[in-house]
């Protein structure tokens, strides 16, 4: 599907290569081709012989927040990790189907995995700052990618911390250890660290489940400010959080073969007020049994 036939002639735009789900609409209008960040096409995933994902096709809009919800074990984290090839790090795993990032199939053989992970950053459930200073936590990535001038690094550190809504709280103690911050601050530091390498998208796997309600709301507000510059995909156990923060929601469940499948994808407002699928309705109303 991703090969361009010679008859396509000059029309070699990226959009032509990637399949497009016609179902995605924003406020009733079809999503323009250029505003999708990820396109997943008939994706399947295996841990050894165990199939964890089956037949997942989904278009994730750019510069919006998409939430993935569903019961425990339905494959949310697995699906999220397919978006930046984090699953590659787990032995004996196998993927079928395609994941397009801005039109490029990130699983095609010539792709640089390191570049994929730079373009698609990740924030985890437990804040995991490196055991080094706040400054070094944020500048680590840029240094790895070749930024050496101190002035440039200073600028990146300040900008990233500001974007992560942490600058005012830490600007006077940049040399202190990142581990000495509160849980909520640590999580924002991890977000700053992810932002420092100028990604296109940020994946968040239950980013607030270890935080108290106020720190959680701070992260949620931060996501709202970040979405104008980044595409955010968040996995959350907390359905209310998905409802609060996201504009699109994907609801997953396991099928009869115990593989995770996509049940419904749509605008969050629609999913939580008039879901199309009975299973979605049962899940969002807490009647799932």
């Amino acid at each position: 599907m991703q090969t361009i036939s010679s008859t396509a002639g000059e029309v070699t735009s990226r959009e032509l290569r990637q399949p497009q789900s016609p179902l995605v609409t924003i406020k009733g209008e079809p999503l323009p081709l250029t505003s999708s960040k990820f396109v997943l096409s008939d994706l399947a995933f295996y841990y050894g012989k165990v199939q964890a994902l089956a037949g997942i096709s989904i278009t994730i809009p750019a510069n919006h927040i998409t939430a993935i919800i569903g019961p425990s074990g339905c494959g949310k984290s697995t699906l999220l990790r397919t978006l930046n090839r984090m699953n590659d790090l787990i032995p004996k795993t196998r993927i079928e189907g395609q994941v397009f990032l801005d039109g490029d199939d990130i699983y095609s053989p010539n792709v640089d995995v390191v570049d994929v992970r730079r373009r698609v950053g990740m924030v985890f459930q437990r804040p995991n700052p490196f055991p080094m200073s706040i400054y070094d936590n944020v500048s680590y990535g840029p240094r790895l990618y070749g930024v050496t001038k101190r002035a440039d690094l200073d600028q990146i550190v300040e900008f990233s911390l500001q974007q992560a809504a942490l600058w005012d709280e830490v600007k006077d103690k940049l040399t202190q250890s990142g581990m000495a911050l509160s849980g909520g601050q640590q999580q924002r530091l991890c977000i700053a660290r992810a932002l420092a390498v100028e990604p296109d998208a940020i994946l968040m796997d239950e980013p607030a489940s270890a935080l108290d309600p106020i720190a959680t709301l701070k992260i949620e507000e931060l996501m709202q400010t970040l979405k104008s510059s980044y595409t955010i995909v968040i996995v959350t156990h907390n359905m209310q959080q998905a409802a609060r923060v996201s504009e699109f929601t994907a609801f997953m469940m396991i099928d009869q073969n115990r593989a995770g499948t996509l049940v419904e994808f749509g605008e969050t407002a629609q999913i939580f007020t008039r879901p199309k699928n009975r299973q979605t309705e049962d899940y969002v109303t807490g009647r799932f049994g």
């Binding site: 949620e220 507000e221 709202q224 409802a243 609060r244 969050t268 939580f272």
Partner: protein, 228 residues
Amino acid sequence: MPRQTLDREFQHLQEEILLLGSMVEQAILDSVSGLKQHDLAIARRVYKGDAAINEKRFAIENAILVLIATQQPMAHDLRFLAAMLEVDTELERIGDYAKGIGKITILLGESNINIPVRELDRMAEVGVGMLHKALSAFINEDSDLARTIPAEDDEVDDLYNRIYHLLVASMISNPALIDHANYLLWVAHNLERTADRATNLCERTVFLATGELMEIETSSEDDELDEI
């Protein structure tokens, strides 16, 4: 500060409800001026314009339902959305009254029935004035102001009674005008209900500001029993 997004949504809802309110106020005033002048063009415009009011009402309702479904509003936030839902509905109903007056104007055509212009004008003026103040009390969550507005309903009720007697008198003196007099009675009724709904808005404002669910008594309500 957490939940800035929700606060922004609330502000947007307030702006939309004020817009709906001004559409409705204008519709009532236009409907009465169309009636006074036998101006069918104005009447038709008001009649057709109700569709836009309905549309805005549903858009606001949908936005409120989405916020309730997605934002887990509590305490004041919950009262705000519940009260908004009610105010949204009340305003739309007042819009229906304006549409009704437009329709009656069209039905009356060139009728030579004597329209109690002064009374109807005054009713519209007081009713719309109450509505306007009630809306700003609502938006500012000013329960003190909200408690004072319903008293103005007394004048509206007096005007209604005066119109009622005038029209009944004209029915008696000229039975050929009974239909048309009845239409005009409906106009007065619609204006009287407009003021009542402004009072409902005031009750919602008290609820929003204080959490207290109450009816604000107006002296005319004491009379209602006498009429039964």
